[in-house]
């Protein structure tokens, strides 16, 4: 028995045989050749083999998955048969280069051309070219590549990382889980696993080295544990757990298309938090009523320069279109604190969480902010956009940010570019000063959204990255509950709605209290949506309201937790 630990990114338990995906080594030397004709016939031979192979895979795909999947390979065959591509490679061989280099140069040219296009469909074509090019290269080098479409028994995929083009070839009915060496919560494999609702563990570092092809593997997507060659006892234990979690999942399934309403008929909105346009799928799959928080930082991270307006526009438009008119709250750039952008070359700070971040940075570096606002405004006509400013501490900051938004809107109107007339403009309440004067903010903002992760850290003056003070991260602290109450009441008195987009919104203990306080929108990660909807459906707001006064008079977070557990968890 062997145990490996990684980051659990998608819940559930799976037991199946390991299927290890090994990326073939397709490295080659760039060399000059003298026998041009020989090199050309090597190329032709590779094309011929790739064609036969693709025709066979297409047949299998057609039989196993139907027309839609097979179309991917038809498209690959068309690329392979494209005379311009062959011509371009041959021209490079005529310049004296070896076939491998000529192929790579040509495919890179096409990949770049499609990747920069302002259209998701065209960008995906770049992946097709990459796939075809890899296939050709493997034939040129005489290396066999694995054919994932032939998997026909239950497997757990073990890979260094999963690429989108690779997963398109997987028959999802047989894939029971993923284990990868690299990646984090937002890596492609993690998102895909959550969308497919199968367990996944990423960042194991050594899975591809330690796990043997075909070995029986257990993965526990809740604890992040991978067990290979388990003893019968352990295996039985997990089989039992798997059965139980499957039953729970089935029970939740019925809430997918139901409204979010309490047992006594009080309606709320249960929305999702996302970090990338592709995360939207997970929210839709889990029956989310909207997007309560779209963190736009991802657009700015892991790159060398600021994203331009077009790129941002495309991302926002994609999300708004996919949400089909459901409320979509987009938070403007929240960089700084623990999220840094090396290319902005900001000064190192002693207290980054209390420093130059989020709206403070945006109001200072207005060109960055204005580009984002323009992209958002242009995208606004594709859905139900609500814009939210982060880290607002003073009313002046909110006014200034809103004024910039209106300025950019006016410019677009003058340019004749359509902009929605019904965009709500709101703010995060995550700094205690904003919570305390929520009544003043509620007169100017269209909505307030409570960011509990930061609100707790600022209210209790405890760095949430510092493990030594992690005991002070107390969502049920009476101060937090009172602040939340203040914010909700202030907003409602001014006819505005209040959301919550921190971890607390999907927390089992907090939910009954938030429901009684009449929070309007609960926003959380996709997998928590159905649990929350099911919990609220069983709660009666009127019944909990009776307990509210008692809860508000409790002295410590522990008392609150114990009280809710005893009286309000059903």
């Amino acid at each position: 028995m062997l145990e490996i630990n990684g980051i659990a990114v998608s819940n559930g338990i799976a037991v199946a045989k390991a299927y290890c995906l090994k990326e073939p080594d397709l490295s080659f030397e760039k060399v000059k050749v003298t026998d041009i004709d020989a090199e050309k016939s090597r190329l032709k031979e590779a094309f011929k083999k790739a064609k036969l192979e693709l025709e066979e895979i297409r047949e299998i795909a057609l039989r196993k998955f139907g027309e839609e999947k097979a179309a991917i390979f038809s498209a690959h065959l068309l690329i392979l048969g494209d005379p311009e591509i062959l011509g371009a490679i041959e021209a490079k061989i005529e310049d004296g280069w070896n076939a491998e280099f000529a192929l790579q140069e040509t495919s890179n040219m096409y990949i770049e051309m499609f990747e920069v296009m302002d259209n998701e469909y065209m960008q995906e074509r770049a992946a097709d070219i990459r796939d075809v090019s890899t296939r050709l290269l493997s034939h040129l080098l005489g290396i066999e590549i694995q054919d994932y479409s032939r998997i026909s028994t239950d497997v757990i995929i073990v890979a260094e990382d999963l690429t989108p083009s690779l997963t398109a070839q997987l028959d999802k009915t047989y894939v029971k889980g993923f284990i990868t060496d690299i990646g984090g919560r937002t890596s492609h494999s993690a998102i895909l696993a959550r969308t497919m609702e199968i367990p996944a563990i990423v960042g194991t570092k050594t899975a591809t080295r330690d796990i043997v092809q075909g070995a029986p593997v257990i993965i526990d997507g809740t604890s992040g544990k991978v067990i290979m060659n388990a003893t019968e006892e352990v295996l039985n234990e997990y089989m039992e757990k798997q059965k139980k979690s499957e039953e729970e999942r089935q029970l939740l399934e019925q809430y997918r298309f139901l409204e979010s309403v309490s047992a006594d008929g009080h309606h709320v909105e249960i929305a999702g938090n996302i970090g990338k346009p592709e995360d939207v799928e997970m929210i839709i799959e889990n029956g989310g009523d909207g997007i309560g928080l779209f963190r736009t930082e991802f657009l700015y991270m892991d790159r060398q320069e600021l994203p331009n307006e077009e790129e941002q526009f495309t991302a926002y438009k994609t999300v708004l279109e996919k949400m089909q008119g459901k409320p979509t709250v987009v938070r403007t750039l929240d960089i700084g604190g623990d999220k840094i952008l090396p290319y902005l070359k900001l000064d190192h700070e002693m207290n980054p969480f209390l420093g130059y971040r989020a709206i403070r940075l945006c109001l200072d570096k207005q060109d960055i902010f204005r580009t984002q606002l323009r992209a958002l405004l242009r995208a606004s006509i594709y859905g139900n956009l609500k814009v939210m400013f982060p880290m607002i501490a003073t009313v002046e900051e909110f006014r200034e940010a809103k004024a910039l938004l209106l300025e950019e809107k006016q410019k677009l109107v003058v340019e004749g570019i359509p902009v929605s007339e019904t965009i709500e403009v709101g703010m995060m309440v995550e700094i205690p000063s904003a919570a305390v004067i929520a009544d003043l903010f509620a007169q100017e903002a269209d909505f307030l959204s409570i960011g509990t992760n930061d609100l707790i850290q600022y209210t209790l003056a405890a760095d949430r990255m510092n493990e030594k003070v992690s005991y002070l991260y107390q969502p049920y602290h009476p101060a937090i509950i009172r602040l939340v109450k203040t914010v909700i009441e202030a907003a409602h008195q001014n006819g505005k709605w209040v959301g919550m987009c921190g971890e607390m919104a999907g927390d089992e203990i907090a939910i009954p209290i938030l429901l009684a306080l009449e929070l309007d929108e609960f926003s959380m990660s996709g997998p928590s949506i159905l649990n929350t909807r099911a919990q609220i459906a069983k709660l009666s707001k009127t019944e909990i309201a009776v307990h509210l006064e008692q809860i508000l008079s409790l002295t410590t977070a522990n008392e609150v937790e114990a009280y809710v557990k005893k009286n309000l968890l059903k």
Partner: protein, 89 residues
């Protein structure tokens, strides 16, 4: 020999129509090119045609040269009309 067409399918000359057109002309011997907004590409090249991004409502010209040029253009017309891709101008 050339013919002009107006694209009427709502998504323009997108994946499916492009695939149909390229597949239809590939088996002909004649050379065939497509011109759109001063750019000319080989109609047998799927990547070339897709890179043009031809939108709905635009006009494109297809010209063929070779032994079966007429048959080729007839086939193009047939594919365009029977699949609701566009109309001949």
């Amino acid at each position: 020999m050339k013919k002009t067409y107006k694209i009427t399918s709502p998504d323009g000359l997108h994946a499916r129509p492009t695939t149909l057109l390229v597949t239809a002309v590939t088996s002909f011997e004649s050379e065939v090119s497509l011109t759109y907004k001063d750019k000319t590409v080989n109609l047998k090249s799927i990547m070339g045609v897709m890179a043009l991004g031809i939108a709905s409502g635009s006009v494109m010209e297809v010209s063929a040269e070779g032994p079966d040029a007429k048959e080729l253009l007839d086939k193009v017309t047939e594919v365009i009309i029977s699949n609701g891709i566009g109309v001949e101008c």
